[in-house]
Amino acid sequence: MWEQVDAILRRAMIRTAENVANFLPGIVGLMLILLVAVVVAVVSRRLVLRALLGMHFDQRAERWSLGAPGDWQAAGGLSALIARVVMWAILVMGLLAGFSALDATLPEAFARTIFRYIPNLLAALAILVLGTMLSRFLARSVLIGAVSLNWPYAHLWSTGVRWLVLIVSWVMALEHLEIGRRTLPLAFGILFGGVVFAAALAVGLGFKDAVSRSIERKWRDDREKADKLSHV
């Protein structure tokens, strides 16, 4: 009997050792891939940061009205933010690639799904980032423009534009992520249509007098302009 026990134990040990031996390369592979991913991520962050600094990206972004250098100071600068995003993206991809090295079915399948999803994810991230930047810029432009034109409720207009752009960005991003593919655009369409309809009603009913006065003023005789103030 002890011989049988011994044999069973040996077989168990051998099986365990075999399993470990089968599993170990995957672990080693995972660790190697992670190590390479960390190195590549750090190097890429530096390279991207240097490249962006080299092309004065922060200053160009300010000229393209994506925000003044002061706006991104909390993040250490727009270039630093982008470089950090690149680094984390590579780290995440490395992690997923490491899973596939394990050759474990579930994680591998998960990793494959994630890899297929990555382009959509990146596109969604890009849309969100750009949309956020654009919403801030447009909101401020509308605010200042509305104040200059003496429009009432300039802040509301500005907030409205900001949220509109943000919502559009989120909807587009979620669409890319294949979340609520039919529901969200539909909801957005209803909402947006409703807003536009309400605005049209408001303008038509509430501002018809103001609009007609404005049209009259525009076509008034030039002689009356002699009394008009000229700032320049």
Binding site: E62, G70, D71, F137, I144, K228, S230
Partner: protein, 411 residues
């Protein structure tokens, strides 16, 4: 060959060009000595009606030539505040023509507004010919309420920075001597987009900073209104933006100038036209609205003390509404620093100045509307002195940007 080249810049005011050319000829005919003059029509739109109208008035024997200086397509996106896209190229063409004809002097007249009267021609020419002046800027006899951007910002800032009491640095009618033209013609500004926006201001500033002898002549002006007049916010952004950018390139000059000096002045003060209609209460309301909405933007450039002062003003009753000269001067200097340090997008920064400018205008109108016109002039002179007194505030921050500490101070 000619002694004087007269350049008319014209766009879609062909009829004005003809009338102006006729007046110019009459003016030269009445000059005591004989002057060989040549007229150049610098057309800013690609059509010939302006020169046709000039030739129709002057006859084919007159010394007239024309040049079309349409602007490159990429410049047309930005309409300059003076309403003449391509103006820099037009002025360059006039100067170049003058030098090609070896003229000793050149007059640049804006066909939209210049009257071309004999007195105007004489006043623009006389300093060049008899007083060794090399650049003559215009002074327009306008009511102080008109051209308020110039009274409130351009003139005080230009005078404090560059030390010359030139009333209309952005004027579009002026004269230049041969050596001044020779000095400025090679500069790359003429082809730049920046040049299209502010060539007149650049010429004036260059004359003052470049050690040229500068004068000022009273130039009669017709008030006119562009069909497509730029909004106040765009005009302000362009003009003030130009001034602020120039400060960056000429820091070594304006930081050594203290006070200001008079220039050679030609022409007696004329009776000013009546005041245009303006309701200061509306302006105050615009300022209050702007204050409500743009406080956060202003916090990027204004220090706590100025922020509080503007806040007090926003709640002040109309009867006591007054923008102190020192507050206005320091506010502009703070905006200049904010522009230099790019605390927010420059265009946003400049446009956000509009309500503050309207507050100043409201205060100015409220104080002077019931007083004689001379009171307005006196107030502007007072404002300029305060700008000069507050200049150390600007220099101190400019030399040590860490001293610039607006409310939203991040560094």
């Amino acid at each position: 060959m000619a002694d004087v080249v007269v350049g008319l810049t014209t766009s879609d005011h062909a009829g004005d060009a003809g009338q102006l050319a006729k007046a110019v000829r009459a003016a030269f005919d009445r000059q005591p000595e004989s002057i060989r003059w040549h007229l150049l029509v610098a057309n800013l739109v690609p059509d010939a009606t302006a020169v046709d109208s000039v030739r129709a008035e002057l006859g084919t024997s007159a010394e007239v030539s024309a040049v079309n200086v349409g602007h490159p397509a990429h410049h047309s996106l930005v309409m300059p505040y003076h309403g003449l896209p391509g103006r820099a190229r037009a002025v360059h063409a006039i100067f170049a023509e003058a030098r090609a004809r070896q003229a000793a002097a050149c007059l640049v007249l804006d066909a939209r507004s210049a009257t071309g009267s004999p007195e105007t021609i004489a006043r623009l020419l006389e300093p060049l010919r008899t007083r060794a002046v090399q650049f003559v800027a215009p002074a327009y006899p306008r009511h102080p309420f008109n051209g308020a951007l110039v009274h409130a910002i351009v003139y005080p800032l230009f005078r404090a920075l560059y030390g010359a009491r030139l009333r209309w640095p952005i004027g579009t009618d002026y004269s230049a001597s041969a050596d001044f033209m020779d000095a400025v013609l090679p500069h790359p500004i003429w082809d730049s987009e920046r040049g299209q926006l502010g060539i007149d201001l650049w010429l004036c500033t260059t004359a003052v900073c470049g050690g040229f002898r500068v004068g000022e002549a009273l130039v009669e002006r017709r008030e006119f209104f562009e069909r497509h007049e730029l909004s106040l916010s765009t005009a302000l952004a362009q003009i003030v933006g130009w001034l602020f950018e120039d400060m960056g390139t000429r820091a070594a000059v304006w930081q050594r100038i203290r006070g200001s000096t008079d220039v050679v002045r030609v022409g007696e003060a004329l009776r000013l036209p009546p005041a245009p209609k303006i309701d200061p209460a509306e302006l105050v309301e615009s300022f209050r609205r702007g204050h409500r909405e743009l406080q956060e933007v202003w916090a990027e450039v204004l220090p706590p003390l100025a922020t509080l002062q503007w806040r007090r003003l926003a709640s002040a009753p109309f009867e006591t509404f007054r923008v102190e000269d020192a507050l206005w001067a320091r506010t502009l200097y703070d905006f200049a620093m904010g522009h230099r340090l790019r605390v927010i997008a420059r265009d946003h920064l400049l446009r956000s100045l509009v309500p503050l400018y309207l507050a100043w205008l409201a205060s100015f109108v409220r104080e002077t509307r019931h007083a004689p016109t001379e009171e307005g002039e006196r107030r502007i002179e007072q404002l300029c002195l305060v700008f000069e007194t507050e200049k150390p505030y600007l220099i101190s921050q400019w030399r040590w940007p860490e001293r610039f500490k607006p409310v939203k101070f991040r560094r």
